[in-house]
Symmetry: C2
Subunit: 409 residues, 2 copies
């Protein structure tokens, strides 16, 4: 008997009819001999509706209170899905994050999971129940309701799969797998049958919205077998995210082109070139719970250097303010400049490890289209560039073609 965790996103549970479909799919998995834990998001549009309501009351909603109300979106779905299962003759029981209990830290609106109590779930599974858990939420030591931030339902799914040592964590979404890039931008984009955790991590963190990065990190760390599937297709194996690299002879060098439209660039000019300076700049930013993405520091000259990094566009103004107020005078920087009309494009692939010339091919392709590269950052399996936002679609298209991603392998 296999233990499967299935996670259904907001679109998959967007209407009562779709919730009944999910119930049928879950019941089929139980009929096939599996124990099933289901994690669900809020019905599509609901989280935005709730946030909208909150903003009508308070422009910057109090984080604790925002979590109290936004967490109701998933709570409604777990009740409805459990009813649909019971109506279909399948025993089921729902749990909020607090009821499970999914213990998190107290960083409201972006909490991290610390521990999961699996006893209730185990007991329910043993007695033939499907366990339906609200994604995206937890509870802190003091009993306050917390949320994990946008996309956190994926993280809940993987975390439950890890805690329960599930045989597979299936992420059902509105796409049928992970693609070489966003098909809305490149119609020739192909579905990948499998992808490594490392590649997926780069794809996810770089803006391919199929899976949330934290869920992939979790899955990699706890060796959770992760599969992305469509909740709207009865057939299809989706994309398996695995620790094993593709061992075909002619493996593709590049797996995909990822991008992130919400990238804002900030540069601290004329920074004294001495040890500890990066921490002095980024410490206050981290303290404000702002995620920093790319970080670049060039070799200095005249005892000073320039320090650049990117943040989510929504954090741009706040980050600049923090640097102006807490950092600039303190470290004696010359100026803080930034641009929030930038985007990031990356080529990702484990094949890069054994092939040379990927970077130069990428840069030449962009150059031929007259696209200026503002920042470059590389890892073992990806090369990212920051460019003017207006060139984003063009860059993705020409790179997809340049690396033959539209060719069936």
């Amino acid at each position: 008997m296999a233990l499967i965790v299935q996670k259904y996103g907001g679109t998959s549970v967007g209407t009562p009819e779709r919730i009944k479909n999910v119930a049928r799919r879950v019941a089929r998995s139980v009929a096939a001999g599996n124990q099933v834990v289901v994690v669900v998001s809020a019905m599509s549009g609901e989280t935005n509706r709730l946030i909208g309501l909150a903003k009508e009351i308070q422009a910057n909603p109090d984080p604790r209170e925002l979590d109290v109300m936004v967490s109701t979106g998933e709570q409604v779905t777990i009740g409805l899905l459990s009813m649909a299962l019971i109506a279909a003759g399948q025993k089921a029981r729902s749990y909020t994050g607090a009821q499970v209990r999914i213990l998190t830290d107290s960083a409201f609106t972006k909490a991290r999971i610390l521990a999961i109590d699996e006893d209730k779930m185990r007991a329910d599974l043993e007695s033939g129940h499907v366990v339906v858990v609200a994604g995206f939420q937890g509870v802190d030591e003091q009993g306050n309701i917390t949320t994990l931030g946008r996309g956190g339902s994926d993280t809940t799914g993987v975390a439950l799969a890890a805690a329960l040592k599930a045989d597979e964590c299936q992420i059902y979404t509105d796409v049928d797998g992970v693609y070489t890039t966003d098909p809305r931008i490149v119609p020739e984009a192909r579905k990948l049958d499998r992808i490594t955790f490392e590649e997926m991590l780069e794809m996810a963190s770089l803006g391919s919205k199929v899976l949330q990065i934290r869920s992939v990190e979790f899955a990699g760390k706890y060796k959770v077998k992760l599969r992305v599937l469509s909740s709207f297709q009865e057939e299809g194996e989706g994309t398996l995210i695995t620790t094993e690299e593709n061992n075909k002879m002619e493996q593709p060098i590049i797996s995909g082109i990822a991008f992130n439209r919400d990238e804002a660039k900030i540069t601290v000019l004329g920074v004294p070139d001495r040890p500890g300076i990066a921490y002095q700049i980024l410490g206050p930013v981290a303290d404000a719970n702002i995620d920093v993405d790319m970080i670049i520091q060039n070799v200095g000259h005249d005892g000073t250097t320039d320090f650049s990094f990117t943040v989510n566009r929504g954090d741009f103004a706040k980050t600049k303010a923090i640097l102006e107020e807490q950092v600039k005078g303190h470290i004696g920087a010359r100026d803080i400049v930034g641009d929030n009309r930038t985007a990031k494009v990356s080529v990702v692939g484990v094949g890069m490890r054994s092939h040379v010339g990927i970077a130069s091919k990428m840069f030449r392709t962009l150059s031929e289209e007259g696209i200026n590269i503002q920042m470059i950052s590389t890892s073992e399996i990806k090369i990212s560039v920051v460019i003017d936002e207006k060139y984003l679609e063009l860059a993705v298209r020409v790179l997809h073609k340049a690396f033959d991603l539209d060719q069936v392998v």
Copy 2:
């Protein structure tokens, strides 16, 4: 420093603008030197929306799962009201029923409060917070979310006032007090400045929808000073519900005309006239958690009698089925008959104790309009009759006039 519990119903928190109004009213009470605990309902329409969603999934929603999702209505409101208070510069903190914790039994959709933990609320009040609590909900011993049934937010308010030994429990609603009867039926209906708990209990249980009966029971039992006020008027003292009877010389004999449109009548015919028979009939009904209202048994003849009672119209079919299946054969009754197109009208007043002739005046008034009385039930301070539903408005109007309730005293 007084400790006030304020309860705001769904209409009072029906829009973001109204929630801000409530926040201003609460903040004023704090500024006047009070500690304030606020209990709120779901935004108007929200509970029905959620129940509608549930019924699209399951015709008779699973009670446990229904409570999980319906309880989110109040959870949204506590978050929003806390934000509004914080935005207005007033420290505030919200709690769900489970967080407080409001311990109930496990009768999903109609749970009863067993105990309230006041520690968190006390600590918050001491540190200058307004405490915002979700009405209508609690949590059972096993951590399951429960709801108290329709109108349960009033009960939450009074229960919190009792637990905290509050100086006053203010119920804000869309009317400015308790009236001699429903002004939509009798435009001449007058607001009462004060009413006794006993009268209010009769008025509430008989269908005046201002306050839920359980909240009045609670308030009377724990001597909670209860006041009904309008949340839409800045001025006005509302109606005080008190233990003291009106000591005016010329006190009105009758305080009001109450009615209940949702009354269904059931008669068990040819019941053996022996001890224990009432329990044998109503035991199974109570086991099904169905509230029985009026109960009438006439003197028997030929060793049998007829046993009649009324239930809420929504429980009519279920009650009849229970009697047919579990009771009829068991006790050897001749037949079960019923009518769900009935209504109950009552005259209520403590003055009745010292005045004679109220009943005969009531019966004569109805008789003069050709209204047939199907059942009669009396208590020390009320006389109720069951009549055909179609005569309800007429009966209320003529009784209101007959007892001079339209005259200013």
